[in-house]
Amino acid sequence: MQIFIGLISLAFFVLTFELIRKRILREEYAILWLFTSLFIAILSLWPRMVPLISKITGFYYVTALLLIVTVFLIAMLMHFSTVISRIKDANKELTQRYGLLELRVREMEQNMPS
């Protein structure tokens, strides 16, 4: 089980690194994923951390852990939704300005004595 989790975290880490290297993923988002993989790695190398966390937080059940993971995932999704919204707004703005500018260029070219 420990090896399995370790492999998952390693694969995760390599994937994140590869995505940054190929410039598919930007560093600002990658940091989050790197920390996530690091967290999983610690979990696999030091399994006694789980009971320790249970002791500190008072979560003794798997369902509670599941809840934490779910909340984390939902928060991530919300974050991505806001990012997408922002990008869509920027895209709209750019598209509109591009259209308006292109028309101006076309009109200027037509009015220019050749």
Partner: protein
């Protein structure tokens, strides 16, 4: 005039606008159509703004407001590119706007009974949207989904900055209320669509209505 794949009808609409005489300019916002819409509109003498991405009707109409504002038009009339709006009523809309000192004039299908053929589901949907608008803002507009409307410079300026993107016609009325526009609705006889299909089919009307109401509800709380 927002247009998306309207090559069959756009030419006629542009010609009708040009036929209104001097002082009327046909401005087509081609929302990244993949047909001949842009070319045909240009051949008919329209001013054509080609958008490099498909923004949807809200983004396209807003581009029109921006153009009209920048080029110092006094009145901006939104007309569909599919030919269902009677272009000969454009002067009537803009005259009403000026004479009654309104900020927004809506050409409506239902103020008095006209022989416009519309499916029952859509009619009910529009009535519910209208009722919601009345309950939430106290403004009574019988046809809040009409895309045949005239705006003055004040409305143009605000819409150029902030215009709803998802369901612009009904949502913009909430905006209009928040910005304290003077809105008037006049009755217009509409033709049936000559070509193409409406963005709202009868089957999807119910789902559309719920989404519109939700969007309008959220708009009520939006920060300016």
């Amino acid at each position: 005039m927002p247009a998306y794949n309207e090559e069959h009808s756009i030419g006629g609409v542009v010609r009708n606008i040009k036929a209104l005489g001097e002082g009327y300019h046909a401005i087509v916002i081609n929302d990244n159509s993949n047909d001949q819409t842009s070319l045909i509109a240009q051949q008919e003498g329209a001013i054509v703004i080609d958008l490099p991405c498909n923004l949807g009707i809200g983004g396209a109409v807003q581009t029109g407001f921006r153009y009209a504002l920048a080029n110092e038009y006094d009145v901006c009339v939104q007309v569909d590119g599919d030919g269902q709006h009677p272009t000969e009523k454009v002067p009537y809309l803009s005259k009403t706007l000026n004479e009654e000192k309104c900020d927004l004039v809506i050409g409506s299908r239902f103020v008095v009974k006209t022989d416009y053929d519309i499916s029952c589901m859509r009619r009910i949907g529009i009535q519910i949207i209208s009722l919601f608008l009345w309950l939430s803002t106290g403004v009574s507009i019988k046809d809040p989904t009409s895309g045949f409307r005239a705006t003055n410079r004040k409305a143009m300026g605000l819409f150029a900055k902030d215009y709803p993107q998802d369901y612009p016609e009904p949502q913009s009325l909430i905006f209009a209320h928040k910005y304290r526009f003077k809105v008037k609705e006049v009755s217009i006889e509409m033709k049936n669509r000559m070509h193409g299909t409406s963005s709202i089919t009868s089957l999807k009307a119910g789902y559309y209505m719920i989404k519109v109401l939700l969007a309008m509800f959220i708009d009520l709380f939006k920060k300016p």
